[in-house]
């Protein structure tokens, strides 16, 4: 029987890792990931897992050790946050190029500088083009379930692509929630035994991995790597469906969750924990007869371009919430993706972008209500009230969106 436990997001992911029982875990502490690995280290110390826990001297080493052991044929994991992820950057691209199905929880935190330890999405957005699948979680329950599913998605022979499962720093990682955990036996059955596609430790099958690759074949290898990402959408859906059927869960199992989108005139698109507050605002507006809706994106890479365009086909105004800035681009990164999804579609909704929550800046229901107020006005005017707005920012003369 599934059990209800009071767990923080970090504890929930550590619980998932306990059930995954990886062969190797490399760990280096960084706030707000630290308590995740601390919890997992308890499981190792208590003999609840068979994992070889490697304590390394930096995140660059953590990712390198994970890559090395995965290439040796062992199911390997690590976890990180913010600057730790930035320090892994070089090895992130090598891991995906070597088609190693590493699953790494990333507890989202603002990148320095100025130095800040609180939650935003600048870390994983910075690592967006490293060839990793990125799956966002709204709460501890989703972080737990996404971590389990990520193993199956990454290890699928058509995919063989590493995955970051993200959870918002502190809001999810340190917030205590009721989490439904599933029994070890069905979880183990769901996860299946790891069958490495190749191993460097078999002398009867000698292999060279990481050979120098010049202009004659580097390009071909990169396009070949891309095939794993291109094949992942179907696997994400299949694994989600199987998880739902096996465990009768009630999370988001597709690319995104469409909440009250059927006849929505205005919609907010959001990633991560802010979906919770947005859903409550939408429900409140609906109770007052306002046709509001929300799309919560779960699979950010691969991005569901066609599906998002279909959801927005009859929407009059849409606001994309971004928890990071894409410097020199058009607002935030999610905004750019949604705009790209709508290219060539008719009619298109009036579109605005709102940057919020950098460095843990609070976002409340009133702020999100303010976004919907803007959208209402945008529909009347036929153009966006703000093309790029900043939520809860002390902006000086230009008044920010005040909740």
């Amino acid at each position: 029987m599934p059990e209800l436990l009071a767990l923080t997001g970090n504890d929930a992911v550590a619980y998932a890792m306990k059930q995954i029982n990886p062969d190797v875990v490399a760990a280096y502490p960084i706030t707000p990931q630290t308590s995740l690995m601390q919890k997992f280290a308890d499981y190792v110390a208590d003999g609840e897992v068979d994992t070889e826990l490697v304590l390394v001297e930096s995140e660059h080493s953590a990712m390198s050790a994970t890559l090395g052991s995965q290439a040796a044929g062992a199911r390997s994991m690590t976890a990180t946050s913010a600057c730790g992820l930035a320090l892994m950057w070089e090895i992130l691209g090598i891991t995906s190029a070597y088609r190693l199905p590493v699953v790494m929880p990333v507890v989202n935190r603002a990148l320095s500088g100025p130095i800040n330890i609180q939650g935003d999405h600048s870390d994983t957005m910075g690592a967006r083009d490293c060839g990793w699948i990125q799956i966002f979680s709204e709460n501890a329950q989703e972080a737990y379930e996404n971590t389990l599913q990520a193993i199956r998605i990454a290890e699928h022979p058509d995919v063989l692509t590493p995955i970051m499962v993200t959870l918002d720093g502190f809001i999810i990682s340190h917030g205590l929630e009721t989490v439904k955990v599933y029994d070890d036996a069905p979880v183990k059955k769901f996860l299946r035994d790891y069958q490495a596609r190749y191993t460097l430790l078999d002398p009867s099958k000698p292999l060279t991995l990481g050979a120098l690759d010049f202009s004659d074949y580097y390009f071909e290898h990169k396009v070949s790597q891309l095939q794993g990402m291109l094949k992942s959408p179907q696997v994400i859906l299949d694994v989600g469906k199987e998880f739902y059927k096996t465990f009768d869960g009630d999370c988001c199992y597709g690319f995104y969750e469409a909440h009250e989108m059927k006849d929505a005139e205005m919609a907010v698109i959001v990633l991560g924990s802010t979906a919770g507050a947005t859903r409550m605002v939408v429900d409140d507006l609906r109770s007052r007869g306002v046709a509001a809706g929300m799309i919560k994106i779960r699979s950010y890479r691969p991005f569901p371009y066609d599906e998002i365009a279909r959801e927005l086909a009859n929407v009059k105004a849409v606001a994309v919430l971004d928890r990071s800035i894409a410097y020199g681009a058009d607002g935030g990164p999610v905004h750019g993706d949604v705009r790209a999804a709508l290219y060539g579609k008719h009619p298109v909704p009036v579109m605005s972008n709102y940057i919020y929550g950098l460095g843990g800046k609070p976002i409340d229901m009133e702020h999100i209500m303010g976004v919907f107020d803007d959208l209402k006005e945008s529909i009347v005017k036929g153009h966006p009230k703000r093309r790029v707005g900043y939520i809860n920012l002390k902006e000086g003369n230009t008044p920010s969106l005040v909740g």
């Binding site: 088609r99 596609r197 396009v223 070949s224 790597q225």
Partner: protein, 96 residues
């Protein structure tokens, strides 16, 4: 000399793997150098320093004796000539 890797995006081994051992033999690195070592047998004392130090296993040995170089794999680094202890040297570098 045959190029080792052949194929397209569709047929290349996954992850840039080379699924065969000893393939360095098939890769002609001998074209890289600007200089090449020339063996002067008359000074050679068969100490094998050149054979030990060559990073590319490009010193050729026949019947227990150093006899010259494998120019398909010698990169012209001159380590052999530097390490050769005889006076005058039994290996001299020549411009290619």
């Amino acid at each position: 000399m045959k190029k080792y890797i052949e194929g397209t995006v569709k047929s290349l081994p996954l992850a840039g793997l080379i699924e065969e051992a000893g393939t360095a033999k098939k890769y002609n690195t001998g074209t890289w150098g600007t200089f090449k070592p020339v063996f002067l047998e008359e000074h050679c004392i068969q100490c094998f320093f050149c054979w030990v130090y060559c990073p590319d296993s490009a010193v050729t040995v026949n019947e227990g004796k150093v006899v010259g170089f494998d120019y398909d794999h010698c990169k012209g680094c001159a380590i052999c000539a530097y390490e050769c202890p005889t006076k005058p040297k039994s290996i001299v570098m020549e411009k290619k």
